[in-house]
């Protein structure tokens, strides 16, 4: 039997979300709705100090006066912000000494995801701060990090244990009133990760957090704050899967990176939340604000592989404030069925001799819409700034769309900016070439897509790269006509 493209297409259509399951952990969930009392209650629940509560309330007041942005190239039913419960945490929250004490059901969840802690520990030497529905449940490798002076914990713990650091940096890159979703996040964020690398320390392992949206009807508002002190280096991984569910779930995270003089931060994301079913029903709304600031000679590198979510609205950005700082953005965004993605980056060149590189690969299949939206801004004082951008789109099938909206603003005569974009489909001649050499069409497509995304895949840490490659194959299987 010949395996035809139609078969492939059929298989893809009927393919259910592989990671779609639901863990029944008793949750401590707030009633739906949002008001100042809810914000206070969240803060109290987290045993936060006074200044933090005030900070949240301030954000809430801004949020009330803001309206939801509509400029993105996506269509969706706006979430009802009063119909969401803003806090959900696994009920029992004991402090575990070892994995044996963790709720077995939870461990099972991780096993299904293929990220069981013990395996991860052994395999990759990865320290994991596992977040199930907003609260850190298990933290590992803390000790060995502690020896180097590295702080890696949940943000609520950091607020309690390291208030000076949090107070100094929280909201400095993404202020409370930055945008609608950032304001919402600032008001109600339930948990997230906090990381501080001291001066001159090179973090010995990849830091990693797995996020997981669990409880039905709860939005997840993560807050990540990562500070790399002078001359330090850290590589941070963030990966996500979510259970299959029909109603839309809202996710509005904020990530702030601070790279002080000579520091380097590498932030990698693999995002594979539930994208909705083949008819476009359900799926996660992913409205994320990610931004980093580079001081002198610092470097921030964003790498992302986006395959999930019904709606993605995400622009990891770099503010190149210090002289000689470097910003990088490598992205693969895959959309299938009725997914919509509007993603890209902002590179704000403020310092002299700043450099930025943008490589964005968009792959759209099915009825999906994939947009790249980016800004390169060279301010008048940014002498010798240099930018190179490349956005390539691959279209599969004639029902999808690819869009590019690059904004380029240059105010300095010594700026060198290059932007290139192409849109194409997989060439019949390329497939023919592979077929001719005994590679079947499906394999050939996987091969070509892999080659298309190689520049970005190469930037991922090794353990992630394998997973990402697999993800690409799964999410595109059979979508080629």
């Amino acid at each position: 039997m010949k395996y035809t493209e139609d078969d492939l297409r059929e298989e893809l259509k009927t393919k259910e979300y592989e990671y779609g399951f639901y863990t029944d952990i008793e949750s401590d969930t707030f009633p739906v709705g949002l008001n100042e009392d809810v914000v206070r209650a969240i803060s109290m629940k987290k045993e936060e100090p006074e200044w933090m509560t005030e900070w949240r309330l301030e954000a809430y007041r801004y949020w009330e006066s803001m309206i939801e942005p509509e400029w993105a190239n996506v269509n969706y039913k706006k979430p009802d912000f009063q119909g969401i419960s803003y806090y959900s945490a696994p009920n029992k929250k004991p402090k575990y000494e070892s994995l044996d004490e963790v709720d077995p059901e939870l461990l099972d969840t991780f096993k299904k995801l293929g990220i069981s802690l013990d395996e991860q520990k052994m395999l990759a030497g990865v320290a994991m701060d596992v977040v199930v529905d907003s609260v850190s449940v298990a933290t590992s490798f803390k000790k060995s990090l502690g020896e180097k002076g590295i702080i890696f914990c949940s943000i609520s713990e950091a607020i309690r244990e390291h208030p000076a650091l949090v107070k100094k940096y929280l909201g400095t890159v993404v202020p409370q009133r930055d945008n609608f979703y950032a304001a919402l996040n600032s008001a109600v964020f339930s948990d997230g990760s906090f990381c501080y690398i001291p001066k001159g320390v090179r973090c010995p392992m990849e830091l990693s957090t797995y996020f997981r949206i669990n409880q039905a009807g709860t939005g997840q508002f993560e807050r990540t704050l990562l500070i790399a002190d002078e001359g330090s280096y850290v590589s941070y991984l963030e990966g996500c899967t979510a259970p299959s569910r029909d109603e839309n779930q809202l996710h509005a995270a904020v990530v702030e990176l601070i790279a002080l003089d000579d520091a380097e931060i590498k932030y990698s994301t693999v995002q594979n939340w539930y994208p909705g079913n083949a008819e476009g029903k359900g799926g996660v709304y992913n409205f994320v604000t990610k931004r980093g600031i580079c001081e002198k000679n610092a470097k921030i590198s964003w790498t992302q592989v986006e395959t999930g979510s019904a709606i993605t609205w995400k622009y990891p950005s770099c503010i190149l404030k210090g002289d000689n700082s470097v910003g990088e953005f490598y992205s693969i965004a895959v959309t299938n069925n009725y997914q919509q993605a509007d993603t890209g980056t902002k590179m704000i060149h403020l310092g002299k001799n700043t450099k930025s590189t943008i490589i964005s690969k968009g792959i759209s299949a099915g009825h999906s819409q994939n947009s790249y939206r980016g800004l390169v801004h060279i301010s008048a004082r940014a002498d010798n700034a240099r930018n190179f951008s490349q956005c390539d789109s691959l279209l599969m099938g004639n029902a999808c769309g690819a869009h590019t909206f690059p904004y380029i603003e240059a105010k300095n005569k010594s700026a060198k900016v290059e932007h290139e974009a192409t849109t194409s489909k997989i060439g019949e001649d390329q497939i023919f070439y592979c077929n001719q050499r005994g590679i079947d069409t499906e394999k050939a497509i996987a091969l070509i897509v892999n080659g298309f995304s190689k520049e970005v895949l190469n930037k991922l840490p090794m353990e992630f790269a394998v997973e990402a490659q697999k993800l690409l194959e799964i999410s595109l299987e059979g979508s080629v006509g």
Binding site: W71, I378, A380, S393, L395, M396, G397, N398, A399, C400, G401, A402, H403, T404, F405, P406, Y407, I408, E409, A410, K411, N412, K413, S414, A415, K416, V417, E418, H419, E420, A421, T422, T423, S424, K425, G481
Partner: protein, 426 residues
């Protein structure tokens, strides 16, 4: 509206006008909050109290305007002074082809079918175009019937004399080119004094099957003048249309240029050279809409920005689902000469078909220091070396200009602008 008594109510386009007035009343002038006008603010040019219908008759002699025309070739001329047609300066025709006035075309019943079929059929209904539709009274009317090769180019020139302290002009051109015909048109807006002028021009061009339309826009006006130019081109099967825009003068210049490809195997070319300084502002806003399969479009815009000038390029390529096998190319290259100058560019692609080749490239950079050194080491003074590089930079666009006299004229304008004499024509 107080203007209504000044407008001809009996005109065949009266309904279109009333609707347009309503659109403009509802929307007003676009502000920076409008995405398409993000980088161009009209505030500075809207502060003048413009008179919309100049009353004074004016006497302008041929010698006053001679230098603004391209005289070394025989051509048809349609010349307007302060928005009014000047018969003694113009040279129109009705022999085989119609090169005449919008007002007479609107008045005479024999043009009625054309007007009804084409007038306001390509222009978008945004507020700026609506403003023109509502208040325009005059402009060029060109109709080339089937199988005609128009031997002479047609020059459309709008002069303003400054008899009014501040004048707003609303010229309206309609150009209909039927099957297999070929026409070349040169358009220019020129003010003769330093009084502020705002021109809001709408040109609709319909290129029939297998027709060839070449359109050249020379924008080298005084810096008291501002121009909002709206050009809409609808093309049928296998037609070739090109628009070259040369922007050197004017205070604020906004070029809205839209191509709609309503057939197969169409070729569209959009090219432009912008060289500005002082506090000038030039904004190119282009749209190429690929509606049917097997078409091509080529965009190439070059910009050199000095002093405190600002440039904007906002190019959009839209490929419909049906428009398979489209080849769309877009390129925008810019040079910033000073730190006070700035450029904002936004080359957009929106693609809904999978079997297409679309690309855009955009660069911002400087003149090559090595090349400068090379020339200077061989005895070419810095100023000339710089000018040579700039000429070379814009050469791609100049090369596709089909009328040599225009090429010469543009070369002269650029040389003047740069203050050099290269002693040869490019």
């Amino acid at each position: 509206m107080a203007f209504e008594n000044l407008v001809d109510v009996e005109s065949p386009i009266h309904d279109v006008r009333s609707e347009a007035i309503k659109t403009f009343e509802d929307e007003g002038f676009p502000s920076k909050r409008n995405e398409d006008w993000k980088y161009t603010s009209l505030n500075s040019i809207l502060k003048h109290d413009y008179s919309v219908f100049p009353k004074q008759e004016n006497h302008t002699e041929y010698r006053d305007i001679k230098k603004y025309l391209i005289n070394d070739i025989d051509s048809y001329k349609i010349i307007f002074i302060d928005g009014k047609y000047s018969s003694h300066l113009s040279q129109t025709t009705h022999e085989g082809i119609d090169v005449c006035l919008m007002s007479s075309a609107l008045a005479k019943p024999k043009y009625r079918p054309i007007i009804e079929n084409y007038f306001n059929k390509a222009a978008t209904k945004d507020s700026i175009s609506s403003l023109n539709t509502a208040f325009s009274q005059e402009g060029a009317y060109i109709h080339i019937p089937k199988n005609k090769l128009v031997e002479k180019p047609i020059q459309i020139v709008h002069f303003s004399t400054g008899n009014e302290s501040a004048l707003m002009l609303q010229p309206r051109n309609l150009i209909v080119v039927d099957e297999n015909s070929h026409v070349q048109i040169i358009e220019r807006h020129q003010s003769l004094t330093e009084n502020p002028v705002l021109t809001n021009c709408v040109t609709e061009i319909f290129a029939g099957k297998r027709s060839i339309v070449d359109y050249y826009k020379i924008q080298n006006d005084k810096q008291s003048a501002s121009l909002i130019d709206n050009t809409f081109i609808k093309q049928k099967d296998e037609s070739h249309a090109s628009v070259h825009t040369f922007s050197f003068g004017g205070n604020l210049t906004r070029n809205n240029l839209s191509f709609y490809q309503e057939g197969e195997r169409i070729d569209s070319t959009l090219k432009g050279v912008t060289i500005i300084g002082d506090k000038q502002h030039v904004d190119h806003n282009t749209l190429v809409h690929h509606i049917e399969p097997n078409c091509e479009s080529h965009q190439d815009y070059k910009g050199i920005f000095g002093d405190r000038s600002t440039g904007v390029f906002n190019g959009k390529v839209l490929v419909n689902k049906e428009a398979q096998k489209t080849n769309a190319f877009q390129s925008n290259n810019n040079i910033l000469l000073t730190d006070k100058a700035s450029i904002n560019t936004k080359p957009q692609l929106e693609i809904f078909a999978d079997d297409v080749k679309c690309s855009h490239g955009c660069t911002i950079g400087q003149l090559d220091e090595d090349a400068m050194f090379y020339m200077q080491s061989r005895g070419i003074p810095e100023k000339e070396a710089r000018a040579l590089l700039m000429f070379a930079f814009s050469n791609n666009v100049m090369n596709s200009v089909k009328i040599p006299e225009i090429k010469q004229r543009i070369t002269k304008i650029i040389a003047n602008k740069l203050g050099v004499n290269l002693g040869f024509d490019l």
